[in-house]
Structure formats: C-alpha cells, structure tokens
C-alpha cells in the first residue's frame, strides 16, 4: 500500500532549481534511501517532505491525506539529524520524553515509555545522564529514541551516521535497520554513502542535480544501473569508450565485444561499455567463451582482502580497465606485474550507455 505519494514536486531558489518535478511513491513499512552526491537535492527533498523547507510547487500525500501545505507541527513524522540536535541541558530521559510531556500523559506513563524506548535502543542506564556525557553513537541512539517516542508514522533520518567513526557506523547500520524492521515504521534516510544505502535500504532513490536518476532495490541499482551517473556513483565501474556496431555488439579499440541487446541507441553511436572490476572473469574459460581477451597486468595494487589490477589488452595500449582479483587467484595463477592473462567480459554483466 502506498504510504507517501510525492507528485511533481519542485523547489526553486530564484533561478536555481534545487528539485525538478520529483514524483515518487513509498510503500508502508518500507526503508527508502535517498542517495546522491552533495548538492543533489536529497536533503531538500527530505525537508520538503517534513515541511521544514516547503516545496515551490507539487503535492505530497501521506496516508491519503494531502499534507503539501501543512506546517511541520501538523504533519506526522519523527526526525533525526546528523547533528543529533539533542537538547544539551536536559537529561537523556527528558530528551526522550520531550514530545510525550506536551501530550498531557500521566507522569508514570511517560517514565515507563522512556524506559521502554531507552531499552529499545540499547541504552537502559543512560536516562539520568546529560548528552555531553555520551559518545557520538550513544547520542545518535538517544536521538532515534526521541524521534520514535511519539510513535510517528514516518521516520526521517538526515545523514544520521555520517558524523560517526567507521566502526560505530557499521554497528549502528545494523541496529537501525533491525529496529526499523521490528517496528515496521516507514523510513526515509538521506545519505551520500553508497555502501550505507546498499546495506540498509529496501529501495534506493539515486538523485543527481535535483532529479531522480533511478529508483530500485539495492541489487537492481548495483546490477542494472539505469544511467551512466548511477553506474559511476554506485560501486566501482570501468568505462570503455566504443562504438555501437550492432544492437548487441560494441567495438572497443578495434575489438568487437558482445553485449545485451540495446534498443534505445542508434547504430554507429559513440557509447560507453561498462563492467564492474569484480565481474572480469579469469578462471573457467572454456573454448568459445564470449568476449575473451588476452591482457597484460600493468599495475597491481594490494587493497587488503583483494588486489585491484590494471589490465591492458595486448592489441592496444591505450585502453585500460581495472579488475578485482582475490588473493587466492593471485596465488594460484602467480599473477604479478607484467603477467599475461586470458580474461573474459561476460556479456550479461556488461552495460552500455550513450557516451
């Protein structure tokens, strides 16, 4: 069931278009990430949904109710900011109970709810402390508890993890995701961190220049990027310049490579042929394997769990691509700089975009 409907939403500052004609549906209970580089409009869209920075035009419906013209206080959402925005002069318990006090609930009921919320975010003993006495990760959990205290229908997270250490960030990713799944609250998270989006989201909305580039599950976004921007922004990607010779054939530096059939492009057009470094195959290449090439390893960078190799086809010297080789593969085949290898570019892993 559609919980949030965004229709033709635009936001302009003078001549600058921060959001151009955004249309988006979010289902109830879904975890959606707005992903994009800074300045792409993802935070602007989130703040428009909250009513904090209203759109210039367009409509937003939440649970069937038109909230487009409502001030934030009349909408139904909880929000967590990158800065946490915890009230420094109130204890953790008072922070979490802040929204409950004004609902004229009984003091005992509020206290019980605060205890429940603090236990939920894994900070059962933090109640009497002040925010400054907590670590960043703990503060972020308190902010989350405060946002969830009033049981909002929509949870908005504005770069909630980007001010934290890498380790804490990894742990909180899982905790937030698990909590969201348990509560079933519809959640929108803004992030510029693709890994965060890929691990946490049910669906990702990739944005650039105030427009939506692609909406899809993490697998769809990663495996079948809809545009060169998405291909480049999410994960690592090789861009090989070539020419479209047939609907399913691209010529790169004189070599014809098979690819999935294209219908949106014209023959003879300049294109980019894209493949992810981990999709370059080295082993199990029987006779007749498509897109088989002999290459030379010109650079080999040790990255830890794997090595990133720079490969150049023997036929040419100016087309290079990178490939990720596991440590096992490096050891088994004795790969080092200057080694010659046979590799294959599996056609089903290739993407073609207009150059």
């Amino acid at each position: 069931m559609t919980y949030l409907e965004v229709r033709s939403l635009s936001k302009r500052y003078g001549d600058f278009t921060a959001l151009g004609d955004i249309t988006l549906d979010i289902a109830e209970g879904e975890f959606v990430c707005f992903l994009g580089p800074s300045g792409c409009g993802k935070t602007t869209l989130l703040r428009a949904i909250a009513g904090l920075d209203p759109q210039s035009s367009g409509t937003i419906r939440q649970k069937g109710r038109d909230v487009s013209a409502l001030p934030p206080a009349k909408r139904d959402f909880g929000i967590v900011f990158q800065s946490y925005a915890l009230f420094p002069n109130l204890t953790v318990a008072d922070n979490v109970g802040y929204g409950l006090v004004s609902r004229r609930e009984k003091r005992a009921a509020i206290a019980a709810r605060v205890v429940e919320l603090l236990a939920m975010v894994g900070l059962p003993d933090a109640g009497p402390k002040y925010p400054a006495q907590l670590s960043g990760g703990q503060q972020q959990r308190v902010a989350l508890a405060r946002a969830l205290a009033t049981s909002p229908g929509l949870l908005l997270l504005d770069e909630p993890l980007s001010a934290l250490d890498a380790r804490v960030r990894l742990r909180l990713r899982h905790e937030i995701k698990a909590l969201q799944r348990r509560l079933g609250v519809t959640t929108i998270m803004v992030t510029h961190d693709q890994e965060e989006a890929l691990t946490m989201a049910d669906r990702i909305v990739v944005m650039n220049h105030g427009a939506i580039e692609q909406v899809g599950t993490p697998q769809e976004i990663y495996r079948r990027p809809a545009s060169a921007f998405v291909a480049d922004f999410v994960g690592s990607m090789n861009f090989l310049q070539g020419t479209l010779m047939a609907p399913d054939k691209v010529q790169v530096a004189g070599v014809d490579l098979a690819c999935p059939g294209q219908d949106g492009l014209t023959l003879g057009q300049k294109v980019n042929l894209c493949i992810r470094p981990e999709d370059v195959r080295v082993r199990d290449l029987p006779q007749g394997t498509a897109n088989r090439l002999t290459v030379e390893v010109t650079e080999l960078d040790f990255v830890g769990a794997f090595c990133r190799a720079t490969l150049k086809a023997r036929a040419t010297t100016d087309v290079a691509m990178t490939a990720d080789f596991s440590s096992n593969l490096i050891r088994d085949l004795g790969v080092e700089r200057g080694t010659q290898l046979d590799v294959a570019l599996p056609p089903d892993r290739l993407r073609v975009f207009a150059a």
Binding site: A69, P71, A73, R75, A85, P88, L90, S102, Y130
Partner: protein, 558 residues
Amino acid sequence: MPSTKVGLSRDDLIMRGGVVLLAALLLVIVGLPLWALLAKGFEDRDGKFVGLANYVSYFSTPALFNSALNSLHVAAVSTVIVVPLAFLYAYALTRTVLPMRWLFQGIALIPIFAPSLLPGLALIYLFGTQGFFKALLGGGSIYGFDGIVIAQVFYCFPHATLILVTALATADARLYEAADALGASKLRVFFTVTLPGAKYGLISAALVVFTLVITDFGIAKVIGGNFNVLATDVYKQVIGQQNFSMGAVVGMVLLAPAALAFVVDRLVQRKQVALLTARAVPLVPKPKPGRDFVFTLICTLVSIGILAILGMAIWGSLIKYWPYNLSLTLDNYDFAKFDANGWDSYWNSVEMAVGAALFGTALMFTGAWLTEKTRGFHVVRGVVQLLAFLPMAVPGLVLGLGYIFFFNAPGNPLGFLYATMGILVVNTVAHFYTVGHLTATTALKQIDPEFESVSASLKVPIWRTFSRVTAPICLPSILDIAIYLFVNAMTTVSSVIFLYSPDTKLASVAAVNIEEAGTTAAAAALCVVIVLTSAAVKIVHLLADRFLLDRLQAWRRR
C-alpha cells in the same frame, strides 16, 4: 505551475505576532524619536516649517561651525593616540607571557565602569587651576583641547583594548609555525601574519574610538573650558538657550560622523572572513624574557596611568578642602549638602539600571530569538533588524533630544511617560539596544538550528522549547547583556541629560550639575560611588559565572 502556499501553525502565528509587536515597539522607542528630531531641524522656534533655514544659519555661524571642526580634531588626535597604545596592551595580553596577566586585564577595564566625567575631574585635581602638577604645563591650561584628549584616552582605552584583544586572540598557531619553518624574520612575521590578522580589529577599534570621542558629552563638559565641541553645543542650545530647532540641527550634524563611522565599520566587517576555522590550533605564547620584560613595563606604565587617574578622583573625593586642607573626610559623600536630591539620585540610578537590565535583557533576548527563529516573514524581520542596528549609529545626546521632541509633543498618547522613571529606562534600553541584540543573536546562532525542527516534529509548542531549552542554554549570554545594560545605565550621561525630572535625577547627571556649581570634590565622590557600584556588580557577575553557573549548568561538563 501553481506555487504552494504553506499554511501557518499556531507557533508561526504567535511568532509573527511577536515580530510585529517588536517592530512596532522599536519604531516607537527608536524610529519615531529620530524622525521627530529630523523634522524639528526644519522648524523655527514656533514650530513653523522653514526648510533649510536652520541649517543655513548653522553653517554660516562660525562659532557653531567651529565646534564641528573642533570635534573632528579632538576625535582624530585621540584615535591616533589610543589605538596604538591599546594595540601594544592587547598584544601584551594575548601574545606575550605577562606576570599577573589577570590583573593587567582587569585594570584596563576600569574606565568602563566610570562616567566619562571622572577622568575630567581627576585632571582638574592634577593640572587644574589649583592642580598639583600645574607647574608642569608651563603657562598652559588643562582646560580645552589637551585636557579633553587626555581624558578621552583614558575613557576610550578599554573599548579599543577589548576589540584588539579579540582580534589578536583569534590566531592560528600553524601560520606562525609555517612562517618560522620558512625562516621568516620576527619583523616579517609581524607584518605578514600578525598585522593582517588584526587588520579588521584595528579598523573597528579606530572607528569605535572616533565615535566615542565625538559623541561624548561628560568630558568636554567638565574640562572643555572655552573649547566648544558638538556635544556641548547641543546641550547649550537646548538647556542654555532653549533653542530646540538649532539643538536639533547640531544633533543632526553630530549624527553624521557617528553614522558614517558605523556604516564604514559594517562594510569592513562584512569583508572579514572567519580566520579561525574549526581546525585552527590556538596560539599559546611561549616565555621569552627580553620581550616579556618590555611588554610588562609598557603594561605597568599604562596601568599606573589608569590607576593614577582613578586614584586621584578617589583621593580628591576624600579631601576636606583642596589644595589647602588635605586632611581626609567623608563630608563630600553627604550629597544633600551639594544637591537637593542628595543620595536619592544615586538610588534613582540604581533603580533605573536594574529596570533597564531586567526589561532590556528580556526584550533584547526575546526579540533576537523572534527575529532569528520566525519562519518566512522576511520584510518585517528586516525592519526589526534595521531598527535594532540603528541605535549603534546614534549618539546618546541625539537620541535623548529626539525623545524630548517625540514624547513631549502635544497629542502624543505616550506623553504620560515624559519626565518619569519609565522614559529613562526606555531611553537607556533603546540607546544600548544594538549590542544586546547582537550578543543575543550571536548566542542563538551558536546553538543547533534544528532544535525548532525537532520540537515541531514532536508537536511541542515553540515557546516551550524557548523556555526549557533555548533560554537556559543561552543563560551566560543573557547575564552578559544584563550586566552590560546595568553598567551603561549607571554611567551614561549623554542620553538621559535631557530626560530627567527633579524626582528622577540620576547620579551621573547630578555629578554634572554639582560640578557645574563648582564643587569638584562632591562630583568626584558621586563618580566614585558609581564606579564602585558598577564594578561590584561586574565582580559579582564574574564570581557567579565561575561558581554558581558551574553548578546550575552541570550539563556543560563532560
């Protein structure tokens, strides 16, 4: 495409209502009095419109026009003396290792707690007709140009020093390390790193001193002799000759340089970018015996000068009959013998200062909050900002004169305020509005801008967040504003000299009157009482800041 018009919540309506009320209030206490003053300059004594006639007669009367030149001359010379002196002192405080740094810092601030006529009185004791060191002047007289400049240097010194300490304190140690690593000489480092870093502070200090001197009334009144300046001319036209129109014209002439200095300062400040980024490493001076000795010597000499002037005023106030009977007495503190109001004027001052501190602080902080946090509504907020900045550019005498014309005008429904304690409080709050507003705005800008978003999402009314979170967090700044208002209300002469009634005469004004009547000792005694009161309040504030706030604000501790 139809554009979205977002509805207003109850919070929005209340805040907008508050902003409108604030704009109306500022219009009444700042805008309209200045307008009344401007209009008065175009009327003759009977209130008929005469166009520029008053201005023509002003500029064609050499006696009047000369005062304007005198004012500029005194201001320029004082600025040239004060700014380098304050720079050396501020440099010593921030960039060298001084023994008892806190003491030097405290001594530099002393003049702030005194009414401006205090240094004038001290100079009379030292160099006046019957002064101790009169012989040092040869045949010259301290009354006039020299006396005004010396007293102004004392009076303006702390203002310039405070600005320059701030400018010099914000230094990035990494720049100095880089310069050292590159082998730059000390002199080169000073001219390429230190001075450019303090450039805006120097300009600001010069403009502030220039404005203070031009607009000050007390010093020129006490020690000016026959050397007329704009500020004394306004007083003479209004009080002496009851020529209000000409008083208004002189007031406008007085307003011009002050307003110009203010505009220049704003333009310069706008160019200034934050020198101190979050990653800057604060500069901590290392001991260096030779340099430290020289600067300790400089600071000691300056401090002795400040203490000598203050000490002279205190001593003079305790002496029976200068210079013939130097035995000590408290008779001069029996003010009833010199002025009909006796000690009442002192208690009036305290009452006025407390009133201005309470009412002014509440207004300035709430006002700054409304202007900062109201959503949309840009035009009215802009009007408030403009009216809040205006008082900084307006000399106290000019504002006071505007108050006479506005509140005393027949038919003004606010006329009942005239000649009451109320108008003194309102005038003082208006006169010092800008600094309080800026202090509050700065404090508000430092707290997380998303507090209001969070409250809105939690459906908590915005005023609840104001009273439970915003105001408690800003408590130190709120106290700063209150103390600033109290001290200035105690010491100000210029803005209130036209507005008191026999029942509401203030201590600073009484001191001017007593001095006018020829009793220097009693005037000095009254000034000493004012200094002690405002300094005591400041010390209590510092102690409270240190011990009480620490307890109340446990949440600041990590």
